[in-house]
Symmetry: C2
Amino acid sequence: MDRIEATYYVETPYPLADAAAVMAGEQSSGTFVTIPGETEELKMHYAARVEQIEELEVVSQPSLSGEQLHFEKYYRGTITISWSLANFGTNLPVLCSTLMGNLYELRQFTGIKLIDVQLPDNYTSHFRGPKFGIRGTAELISNEAKTPLVGTIIKPSVGLTIADTADLVKKLTEADIDFIKDDELMGSTLNSPFADRVQAIMEVLNRHQDKTGKKVMYAFNISDEMDNMLRNYDTIVKAGGSCAMVSLYSVGLTAVKRIADIGHLTIHGHRNGWGMLNRHPLLGVSFSAYQKLWRLAGVDQLHVNGIRNKFWESDESVVSSIKACLTPMAGVLPALPVLSSGQWGGQAIDTYKLTQTTDYLYLAGGGIMAHPGGISGGVSAIKQAWGAAVAGLTLDEATQKYPAVQQAVEKFGKSK
Amino acid sequence: MDRIEATYYVETPYPLADAAAVMAGEQSSGTFVTIPGETEELKMHYAARVEQIEELEVVSQPSLSGEQLHFEKYYRGTITISWSLANFGTNLPVLCSTLMGNLYELRQFTGIKLIDVQLPDNYTSHFRGPKFGIRGTAELISNEAKTPLVGTIIKPSVGLTIADTADLVKKLTEADIDFIKDDELMGSTLNSPFADRVQAIMEVLNRHQDKTGKKVMYAFNISDEMDNMLRNYDTIVKAGGSCAMVSLYSVGLTAVKRIADIGHLTIHGHRNGWGMLNRHPLLGVSFSAYQKLWRLAGVDQLHVNGIRNKFWESDESVVSSIKACLTPMAGVLPALPVLSSGQWGGQAIDTYKLTQTTDYLYLAGGGIMAHPGGISGGVSAIKQAWGAAVAGLTLDEATQKYPAVQQAVEKFGKSK
């Protein structure tokens, strides 16, 4: 296969075949009249091609405003379009503009969402992808590290002094945590300049490693201008760190790939802003599709929300994102799915049931920091809950067996 | 003022004040329980603050899915939140994560759209902004260049050989065009490698300049990986070009700023993908708000769609985007609004009426290429239509006065 195929879930007042032709036209020659120079031969090689159309439900009200006219019926269905690899080579931003560009503006559609993209092996094999991925991330922590890796976010997100942050990191390492991260709102602030924060935290982590052999992974948020990101990255490398965090949508595909290409640190991909691109069922892009581009760019760890999260996303959608991250692409490693948002261990059993894997980075903020048994109780509760999940216990059984899990259920269980 | 203020249009089943508190919490400490370390003093300095709430309509159906429960009423209104500058310094990606981050995921909202952001002067003055802007762009073309600058897009977008492209460029320059651009789907293809395309096109443009003194501006699409973008940029500079085009959302804020910072070329900001972020009235971000970040990043020319465009966007929304690009920010130039999408000159009169300015880059694809009088007729029709607009003529009067305008109305007028 030398073509990239994308499938869209659409809604349109026009026959699906006509709407599909408009879409393919916009994403090839893109003007409103036939123009000289657009020969049949040229079209054959470079034009987008409609591969498949599947009709689904018919509705009477449009999901999004489009044509100003009123229609009786709006047709929903899927449209699959393909492009020749010759159109973009291995240029990810141009692929992105092709898959997710002007087509969202088309008035002929009252709904359009990219739900999947098929990348041929002879395309993906040009990319290194995640350098570390799941196993590489675990091994950087310790040879004995097992998934799920348990992590937390420094809270309060913004405002803690460096001394307080280092002190909190120390407590977290003593509680046997695997991973800690900056909040995405935390870059470099007056009372916590980036380089100083890295020094102070890595001193704690390096000392802990000398003592125990375990290198707790800390994801420093390097998101910034390009030169600052490169300098921040170097600062982490020189201090002996193992992870850099990037806010994918705030930083963008080009700079994220530049950073991931360096290859000394694991890349923790935070997906804040994602709701804009996905929250409407007939607008934007599914995470299953988009994560392929971020993996090609080299992101090792990808946020996917969590089961019974505090946000709006359904468990079904979360499970679909998890499975996508774990699905192999030729030559490109899976990304380690990062579970977060209102997680405290209680979701471990259902998460395992739904996905049959422990290959996660499981992040809990309040679930660890506010556990009645302290930080150590919070970490234990999560590890025990996952142990129970793999052993096939119910949450009730886990509660009876593990006092820390019982405390967590009492404190956090009511909010769910 | 040492705070950044953002105003959101929201919908929620909860009292607006409660929902606003959730939003401010998520965008500061961001967890689901109160945690140790979050002192009052720290909150005072670093927490987001709810500045204002305005109640608007009440509706019975949610715009987006949120809480799984059913509610009788959903309250709409605006919520204004502020953050201390100390939280992010001049880090644009972290500002972006703060303004447009996790808050779209909150289940307490069934609609959330960033509609405006107020950046204090002592913030914007840290940024150079567009190096060239409106006047700088015009002057690079010629000392006599007047707005609106008239431009076109190479069509077919993808597939033309370099020789055919150069030939088309020659015809366009002979028709006295001001500006030409690559299509956003065109990067570097097998039959049109980037560097060779630049050489061939700049040879034509440089020769034209030698003859006429006018340097037609060509926006080469440099969107790609970081190192390729830098190399592409250099290729343009060395060949004597004056403009680089970037696909804003495909490339991202960090890399776009890196490119704009160089300062040798004007930066043409294409907004393909924008529909995802704006098409729903209660999701995403308004262009008026977002264009401020792109201007801070240094983009000189910004796409804003056009009056009676071929896309879904209303004229009212287009006018609002135009006015936003032209509104001064302390220390930062306005961006040149780029009008495009189904433009052929006929919209000039209404565009001028609605905005009272000619400070535009006016792009027509089919409107120029498929004009009955050829390319030259297409360019003339647009320039004449704008002349008529400024002179206060109606379209009928312009049609009677200018044969090229009449031909355009006959060919394209029916599609509107």
